[in-house]
């Protein structure tokens, strides 16, 4: 099988990789680039565990061919923290105990970042519908929603 050479940017870093034309972005992130923070829960776009940002837009990396990333910019969970500092969303997930097993957490945090980047002050309903593509089986979503609300507050510069 002839492999394709792809040049892209991931988490601000220029990256090159060889992949098979039919390989998903998720498989390349996890197997080729060993960026395993992005999780696979279904590989059919139904759970959101593989959420990444493509040029700032939220997508499922399992529903994107790796070759399509050529010339684009990807952000994965590994790129959410601000260097040595956790992103406020990550901090709030910890403070609110918004994770139990933690497998869905990277996807939720990437999706929540996309939400708050485009809507700094979402209602509870807006948060719930925006995150409806991210499945969590442990928490019943309650603490996740509260963490996102609190993170939004912090990002708006209001006293949390």
């Amino acid at each position: 099988m002839s492999k394709v050479h792809v040049e892209t940017r991931i988490n601000g870093e220029r990256m090159e990789f060889l992949c098979e034309p039919q390989q998903s972005m998720l498989d390349v992130l996890r197997d080729n680039l060993r960026l395993t923070g992005t999780k696979e829960g279904c590989a059919t776009g139904d759970c959101g565990a593989c959420s990444v940002l493509l040029d700032g837009r939220l997508v499922c990396s399992c529903l994107m061919l790796a070759v399509e990333s050529g010339g684009h910019e990807l952000t994965t969970i590994e790129g959410v923290a601000r260097g040595d500092e956790l992103h406020p969303i990550q901090r709030k997930f910890l403070e609110h105990a918004a994770l139990q097993c933690g497998i869905c957490t990277p996807g939720f945090i990437v999706a929540a970042k996309a939400l708050l980047d485009e809507n700094p002050n979402p209602t509870e309903e807006e948060i719930r519908f925006y995150l409806a593509g991210n499945l969590c089986r442990c928490t019943g979503y309650d603490k996740i929603i509260r963490a996102v609300q609190d993170a939004a507050k912090t990002l708006r510069g209001e006293a949390a």
């Binding site: 002839s2 039919q22 939220l58 529903l63 399509e68 939400l115 991210n134």
Partner: protein, 293 residues
């Protein structure tokens, strides 16, 4: 034996050439826009090698025009972009809602109107709205272009009217007349992330007194293809969309439906619910018609 390949042409001609080459060589080729259906199908149904032609880099498939007389939506534009377009939301809010109902926020980042139409699922959410809004497919052909009304584009379960070597460039609409409104509703057991159990797209035009002068009603997930229901339109036209007219339109939808029972719902349930959706969607479309001038 053929192996997988990926092509991302930058002009319509290049795209047509790739399709033509493969066709003449008898090699498998498949056009991809957002890929949210294609990749799932490759993973779960048929993973056999093919050349994937990505049409996201073409100007014609990315153009969004909301003109004074005509609206054009490029086939590869992702839902997230359509939802962000204010002018489109003013002219065809029902269509935008239908697109927005497809999958999650993540899916909206990739999935396209053209892809949803070409995939030709009986339950495709945009198709009833496209039919109700009298959308016309603009198709790239080796000879140039041809046009086809959406209701004639879908010919069977997963089957569309594209001939080998052709692909969908976009969909165009006449700009809706004054006091015209559209709406699409579907039923799913959850609030998100499901495939429609039944769907109804409605477009109505009212006169100054609120009497319905024109209507198109299309229903989805209740037959092998989305179907236009003239009987439902007939029931609405000439009425002031009172309950009697709405009931008659709903009944026409139930009568026109030929649903199956499967994991997503029973035939009997689909037939009943499609009437409810028709009535509810018509009310929303009527409200919108009153607002537009």
């Amino acid at each position: 034996m053929q192996s997988f390949a990926y092509a991302a042409p930058e002009t319509v001609k290049q795209a047509l050439d790739v399709l033509a080459e493969h066709q003449s060589a008898g090699r498998r080729v498949q056009v991809m826009a957002g890929g949210t259906d294609l990749l799932v199908q490759m993973r779960t149904l048929d993973g056999s090698p093919r050349t994937i032609v990505d049409i996201k880099k073409l100007a014609e498939t990315n153009r969004l025009d909301v003109g004074a007389s005509e609206i054009y939506i490029g086939a590869a534009i992702p839902g997230a972009e359509l939802s962000a377009s204010k002018p489109l939301a003013v002219c065809l809010p029902g269509l935008v809602e239908a697109m927005d109902l497809i999958g999650s926020t993540q899916i909206q980042g990739r999935a396209s109107l053209g892809g949803n139409l070409c995939n030709a699922s009986p339950a495709g959410d945009t198709i009833p709205a496209l039919v109700a809004d009298a959308g016309v497919c603009v198709i790239a052909t080796p000879g140039g272009q041809r046009e086809l009304p959406v209701e004639q584009f879908v010919v069977g379960v997963g089957k569309n009217a594209l001939k080998p070597g052709e692909f969908l460039l976009g969909i165009k609409f006449k700009r809706p007349a004054a006091r015209t409104g559209d709406a699409y509703l579907r039923f799913i057991p959850r609030t998100e992330m499901d495939i429609a159990v039944a769907g109804a797209g409605v477009s109505v035009t009212l006169d100054a007194k609120g009497v319905c002068t024109a209507a198109r009603v299309a229903i989805g997930a209740v037959a092998p293809t989305v179907i236009l229901v003239p009987g439902a339109a007939k029931a609405l036209i000439g009425s002031s969309l009172d309950d009697k007219a709405l009931d008659a339109a709903g009944a026409a939808c139930s009568a026109a439906a030929s649903p199956i029972s499967d994991k997503r719902g029973t035939a009997d349930y689909r037939r009943k619910v499609v009437a409810v959706l028709c009535k509810r969607a018509t009310k929303i479309a009527a409200e919108r018609a009153k607002e537009t001038r």
